[in-house]
């Protein structure tokens, strides 16, 4: 069985070769290259299963489980000075788990895509890009040094860009692709800085294991370690769509649905979570995650906690079924990041494991609905409703997936979410346990809304809904099965998952803080399930029986409620913040936004309290807004415009004038250099 562990490098290599083969010969093959992709991913999947079995045998056989099984250096990549960097694979519980998840979901998505994208004009390139993505992700999760990790990380970013913009003829799609790429790139600056800093802090090595050990040994200056941790956290925020850079993920739904299921739900977006889990020595030391007597707060946990609530609120106001799922993904990624921040390492990657199955199931279910039920639309309010009769398989799988996501006993999501909550309480992060519970209730609420709008009530579309063919329902059924059973490997008090993924870095980090893994508690489980059921019952009564009548139409009647709804519906104006204020030149949005805040928020307060605040608001509006802010903004814009109009004359567009200037400057500089040389001698 050790053959699988030492030859695990084949797993990323096969999809990489498949990419080349599809690109070169795909169009000439009878199935346009799709068969190559499916065969390659199947081969990788079989190898990943073999690796998983071999690893489990090894991890459960005595002391050896503390050592990474196969730290296999394949060849010397490069060396400078005393530091050598080997291209190699690092196979441990975390890597094996992700190898399994990625190949499994990729296989399901490949099969689903055979039917879903049939007749697409770029069918061959679609499968080539899927192969390249799979290869990149597998490279990243099995990387033994941080540069190899970066290689896979950026490869995934490129594939994500290519696949979101798959139908680039539509401007919205290519815009979404650009937005996703540039937003994650913003975070990737942090990754470059962080990896460079850890390279020097750990004594000039890219080896991830050595970096972790050096961080845990406490030889690094804490300030530098903290800066490196914050920089790496930037990469996590970008790639894993955490607040405040989460805005790209919902737009990324412009890509084909199987892509959303694979890249933007199950695998690529968890890369940030993987990064924290992989560099846990660095993160736990930098942010004092396990330090006894800390205040119960740190940056990682706060970002995760804020993301949970913010994204879950947004999921309530979406009309597009894929956007509901996208915000749900953001929220669930928040859970994982928060779990890592509160020291519940096993719970975090366990949630990653279970989430991959039920979220891929939900996305593919949404794809099935749009493929056969709503005439390629994703609008729940306009084109869906009442589909449970026509699409029974899709309906049942979607409902089970939703229940797993909401955390109903004994489905997959229940066990992992419960572990996160118990872990947060166990390690002294009580505030985050409460946030997690609130988030769980909100998850149950928005998923009930989503299921009700899609499958219950009257059909509102204009198509002829029917059940999807077998290539689509097959993956759905398999994924639903996994969504039910995936949690059992660590559920019912059986801690198999924990034993298989036991990580020496995490264990020594916990030992430093004298922390243990949280035990399973039936009381906490009962509490969270009860809260979730209450939330579902509430949402169901609201939608199906129109209960709580005073709440219906509240947003139309009450100004405060309406303002709140608009605020959430506009995604907290974060998109406006990034595109208009930060990226574009600062002009209207600040004034308009401040004016809007004056009109709605402050007016509301005025009605409630006193007229005094109105005077203040007037003052702020008239003098600060109109004169100070607008003045500064207009001044900036004016000077930029004036400067531009002078400088633009230099830009004639004629290459030869540029070349002449280039040569002229060259002559001048060489002349100066010659003069300096001759005069100094």
């Amino acid at each position: 069985m050790t053959w699988f562990l030492t030859n695990a490098w084949l797993i990323p290599l096969i999809p990489a070769l498949s990419f080349v083969v599809i690109l070169l010969f795909g169009k000439r093959l009878p199935n346009k290259g799709s068969e190559v992709g499916v065969i390659a991913v199947s081969a990788s999947f079989v190898l990943a299963i073999g690796t998983a079995i071999a690893w489990i045998q090894r991890a459960t056989s005595g002391e050896e489980h503390l050592r990474p099984a196969a730290n296999n250096d394949l060849f010397l990549w490069f060396k400078f000075g005393p530091s050598e960097t080997h291209f190699g694979i690092h196979i441990d519980g975390l890597a094996v788990m992700l190898l399994f998840v990625v190949t499994f979901i990729a296989l399901m998505v490949h099969i689903f895509s055979l039917e879903y994208l049939r007749g697409d004009r770029r069918y061959t390139y679609y499968f080539a890009a899927l192969s390249l993505f799979t290869a990149s992700m597998l490279t990243m999760v099995s990387a033994s040094n941080s540069l190899q990790l970066l290689l896979g990380w950026e490869g995934m970013g490129v594939c994500s860009f290519m696949l979101i913009g798959h139908w680039w003829e539509d401007k919205a799609n290519s815009d979404a692709a650009l937005k996703a790429f540039l937003t994650t790139r913003t975070g990737d600056i942090g990754l470059l800085i962080g990896l460079t800093m850890t390279f020097f802090l750990a004594g000039q090595t890219f080896d991830i294991e050595k970096i972790n050990q050096a961080a845990l040994a406490g030889h690094m200056p804490h300030t530098l370690l903290l800066v490196a941790g914050i920089a790496l956290m930037g990469a996590v925020v970008g790639k894993s769509a955490q607040f405040p850079l989460h805005t790209w993920l919902p737009d990324a739904m412009a890509g084909p649905t199987p892509v959303s299921a694979l890249i933007h739900a199950a695998t690529m977006v968890v890369a940030g979570v993987y990064l924290v889990a992989r560099f846990y020595g660095v993160f736990s030391q930098a942010f004092h995650i396990f330090t006894p007597g800390n205040s119960g707060f740190n940056l990682v946990a706060i970002i995760g906690g804020v993301t949970i609530i913010i994204a879950a609120l947004l999921a309530f106001v979406q009309h597009d079924i894929k956007k509901v799922l996208a915000y749900s993904t953001v929220s669930q990624l928040g859970y994982m990041v928060m779990a890592l921040g509160v020291g519940a390492w096993t719970a975090a990657i366990f949630h990653l494991f279970t989430h991959a199955f039920f979220k891929a199931d939900l996305f593919l279910g949404a794809g099935s609905v749009s493929h056969s039920g709503s005439h390629h639309s994703f609008d729940m309010k306009k084109d869906m409703g009442g589909l449970r009769k026509q699409m029974p398989v899709t309906f049942v799988t979607f409902v089970i997936g939703s229940a797993a996501l909401a955390g109903i006993f004994p489905l997959a999501g229940f066990w992992s979410k419960d572990e996160i909550l118990v872990g947060a309480g166990h390690n002294g992060y009580v505030a985050f346990m409460v946030i997690g519970l609130i988030g769980a209730m909100m998850t149950a609420g928005y998923m009930t809304r989503c299921v009700w709008l899609t499958f219950f009530g009257e059909y509102r579309g204009h198509g002829h809904p029917h059940e999807s063919p077998r290539q689509i329902t097959g993956p759905l059924i398999i994924l639903t099965f996994m969504a039910v059973v995936a949690g059992w490997v660590n559920g019912f008090g059986l801690h198999y998952f924990q034993k298989w993924t036991a990580n020496p870095v995490v264990e020594s980090a916990m030992r430093l803080g004298r922390v243990t893994e949280a035990p399973f508690s039936w009381a906490a489980a009962a509490l969270s399930v009860t809260l979730v059921l209450i939330a579902i019952a509430f949402a169901w009564a609201y939608y199906e029986y129109h209960a709580f009548g005073f709440l219906h139409g509240l947003t139309e009647r009450n100004a405060t409620a309406k303002a709140g709804y608009t605020f959430v519906e506009q995604k907290y104006y974060l998109d406006h913040l990034w595109t208009d204020v930060v990226v574009g030149s600062i002009k209207r949005p600040i004034a308009a936004g401040a004016y809007w805040v004056n009109q709605h928020v402050i007016d509301g307060a005025v009605n409630g309290t006193a007229a005094g605040s109105r005077v203040v608001a007037e003052f702020v509006y008239r003098y600060i807004d109109q004169d100070l802010v607008d003045g500064a903004v207009n001044g900036t814009a004016f000077s930029a415009e004036e400067g531009g109009s002078i400088l633009r004359r230099m830009q004639t567009g004629r290459v030869q004038q540029y070349a002449a200037a280039f040569f002229g400057f060259g002559v001048v500089i060489i002349g100066i250099g010659l003069l300096a040389l001759t005069h100094s001698f």
Binding site: R649, T652, G653, V655
Partner: protein
């Protein structure tokens, strides 16, 4: 050996190339002039290499030739696309980047 003659030849070629690159209107001729500039550099490299009895100059020249081949490939492809879109390869007419 005498270095001067080679350097003078290279300087002459270089000046010819710069003149061509700056003054000609035909994009293909401009590309050819750039080749002249590169070859002037090659002559210098080889001449200095031979003068100092080292092979490094010739190695560099080989690299320059290889890169120049790639550059001409890209350059001619651009010229071809410009011609296809505007039915002219007059460089003065390609000024869409005008500010």
């Amino acid at each position: 050996m005498l270095l001067n003659e080679y350097l003078l030849l290279a300087a002459f070629l270089f000046c010819t190339g710069v003149y061509g690159a700056l003054a000609r209107k035909n994009s293909v001729l401009v590309l050819m002039s750039i080749e002249l500039i590169l070859n002037a550099v090659n002559i210098n490299l080889i001449a200095f290499g031979a003068f100092n009895h080292t092979v490094a100059g010739q190695v560099f020249a080989l690299f320059v030739i290889a890169v120049a081949a790639a550059e001409v490939g890209v350059g001619l492809a651009i010229v071809l696309l410009i011609y296809r879109n505007r039915h002219s390869i007059d460089l003065d007419k390609v000024d869409v980047m005008k500010g």
